[in-house]
Symmetry: C2
DNA sequence: GAAAGTAAAGGACATTTGTCCCAGCTGCAG
DNA sequence: CTGCAGCTGGGACAAATGTCCTTTACTTTC
């Protein structure tokens, strides 16, 4: 559930030496800082090098809905760049993170002239589509208890890594429901 | 909610004359026939030319979950092609449809050597990501009544175009819930 | 046109999730 | 130590949705 793409990260790390000065910058971002704000213009693509960020939508009612947790190798901003649009989601560090920031121009340059880079971007987008499809399909047709149980099997240290508030936003439920479900799983010895 | 991509369809229609013999085939598919089966290998990318298809996942419990309705210009099979994987979803005609079927080899050829084609594919993938993100975020944080009301505003003839069964699968609810919600909207004069 | 069979709609109750609020804990100021 | 602010978990009830089954309407057949 925390997504990674180490193959792509390695590819960039290996190749960035040949990229022009300033085309790729390494940035450190503190926990809680936003890498991309919702409805802002995006002029760079960033790759998470270390740490975890959340990608989420503000809802009109004040709650957030988390689309994905991005770990090492995951890419943010590419969708806005491709569509030449304002960001439709926000991205915020939930641990201290470092990112590799590729300038708009160099991203487009690589996309056009480096077939390997281009293919990585295609695959990464396909991966995002598939991830969302399977995740939401499961969530939509299962109870919170079933979903949470599955998540805990996939990632036993979930509750140490992700705050309850973020978990609630990821599941699209209330804190009350999360607490209730957690208690019920504990009472049944499933956790 | 029925997605289309006429720019891409036009692009293919205009250019296909220059493509090699057999690289693009036009096929007619009857209502109810499957264009792609779930967990099957995919060896062509298809573009809907006319009609509507549904893209859905079978769930273990026997219910379907519809990810998208594809209208003219929408593309199926590209994700599997890019990842070189079995299909993770099924695609089935819900009206009679015609599609342009691009062979695996020619799709890869165009992707590599036609920058305009390549860019269309990138944008189309980005569009699928964004569509899923906003749709599921809304669905997850609103009631069925709110979601349905929004859909009916966006598409007043929804119920004539999409069967109740499909609507139920799209919303991830039961028929009983859909009927109840529809009745409640009618009783309140909202429909 | 009546009887029988089938599909769609809806009533009654169960389960899941949300809302509201209170009790108990923690930390800090005085 | 005392008392209060703020956070966390949970109780009680409300709303939303699912399950099961009955009723209604619509076909088909004779």
């Amino acid at each position: 559930m925390i997504r990674t793409n180490t193959a792509f990260l390695d590819f960039i790390l290996v190749n960035q030496d040949h990229y022009p000065e300033g085309s790729v910058q390494e940035l450190s971002i503190k926990k809680g800082q936003q890498l991309i704000r919702q409805r802002s213009s995006v002029n760079a693509v960033s790759i998470v090098k270390e740490g975890i960020a959340k990608c989420f939508l503000y809802q009109e009612d004040g709650t957030d809905f988390i689309l994905e947790f991005f770990g090492p190798g995951e890419v943010v901003g590419e969708i806005e760049m491709l569509n030449n649009e304002m960001s439709f989601a926000a991205v915020e560090a939930i641990t201290p993170i470092t990112v590799l920031r590729i300038s708009r121009d160099w991203f487009n340059e690589l996309l056009t002239n480096d077939p390997v880079f281009n293919h990585y971007v295609l695959k990464l987008l396909a991966g995002k589509v598939k991830y969302k499809a399977t995740r939401f399909s499961f969530a939509q047709t299962h109870t919170v208890e079933q979903t949470l149980k599955k998540m805990l099997i996939d990632m036993p240290d979930l509750l140490e890594v992700i705050s309850k508030k973020d978990l609630v936003s990821y599941l699209g439920i209330t804190e009350r429901s999360l607490n209730r479900t957690l208690k019920s799983l504990k009472d049944n010895g499933q956790i």
